[in-house]
Symmetry: C2
Subunit: 188 residues, 2 copies
């Protein structure tokens, strides 16, 4: 584990994901290129291919990292709240807040930019913990509901939060945090 600037990188894969995320924030998902990521990493255009099968694999890596942040964000929001009902509501607000804070990343995670089959599969795996955080929050807030009703409720909560997030991120509406909480609260 040397710290010298050797020919070999110690963790190019991790660096590329980190730099890719920075670049994604600057230019958006549509204009993010493999070459630009390599360029900023100070490495040849071909170097990323040592660590990622293709561009989609790098994108899936970035999105996967995004889902890690996202799951933590959702879990923390629910945990901080005083009651399960407040936890569910706060989690919804956190969902929308994440999208507003990270619009490009949010689009990459949920949008159609990642298309190859293996990349999509790894993306689905990365998204599971976030979905489970949502499931837990609904379960805690509605412990007596039967499975079918709870399933509907989960989807409804997810939909309001996701819809609000998309509409805001895509510039269709602009809402204050207070308004967001009220809209999210409609379902609680």
């Amino acid at each position: 584990m040397s710290t010298s600037k050797s020919y070999h990188h110690s963790d190019l894969a991790g660096q590329l994901i980190k730099i890719g995320l920075d670049l994604l924030r600057e230019v958006g998902p549509a204009d993010l290129s493999l070459r630009a990521v390599a360029r900023r990493a100070g490495v040849s255009a071909m170097a990323p291919y040592r660590h990622f099968a293709d561009k989609d694999a790098l994108l899936a890596g970035i999105a996967g990292h995004g889902f890690d942040l996202f799951a933590k964000c959702l879990t923390d929001a629910a945990a901080r709240a005083a009651t399960p009902a407040a936890g569910l509501r706060d989690q919804g607000c956190a969902y929308v807040g994440f999208a507003i804070a990270e619009p490009a990343l949010f689009r990459l995670m949920f949008g159609p930019m990642i298309s190859s089959d293996p990349a999509q599969a790894s993306l689905a795996r990365a998204g599971a913990p976030s979905f489970m955080a949502l499931e837990r929050a609904v379960q805690a807030a509605h412990p007596t509901a039967d499975d079918a009703a709870r399933h509907i409720r989960i989807l409804a909560c997810w939909s309001v939060a996701h819809g609000l997030a998309c509409l805001i991120v895509d510039g269709k509406i602009a809402l204050s945090p207070d308004m967001i909480a009220q809209v999210i609260g409609t379902l609680s």
Copy 2:
């Protein structure tokens, strides 16, 4: 108004929008190119520039046509229902149904593909009637609510429908029409 195949098109602008929509359905918003639209219209790559300032303007034209169809779809759904409450619910289902039937068009209408200022402005104008159809349906179903409460309700209804539509279109979940109706119904 001759029908001869003359040098001059009678309505190239309309043709380009129609063909652009076809092509959009086939290849998706990311891969839709001006040249491909011109090619299929049997016209040179430069011809569209007689009718549209640039690619974004054509995209806005296509999306605008999409919003016409969308507004009609929403209005009809609400009008067909027996009661205002059913109208609101059916309209939500129609919203999601439209997205499922026209995923590429839906993405173009609501996504970030159209970026230039003038194109975005024309897009916003084209979207107004659809939003108004939603407002009317909520107003009919909740006539006694005060303005603030109604505003929240409109946003909530919009969000559930939009979120569900996005999640389905982007392949995050797959739902039967019956399940969709149940999720939409959570808010009615």
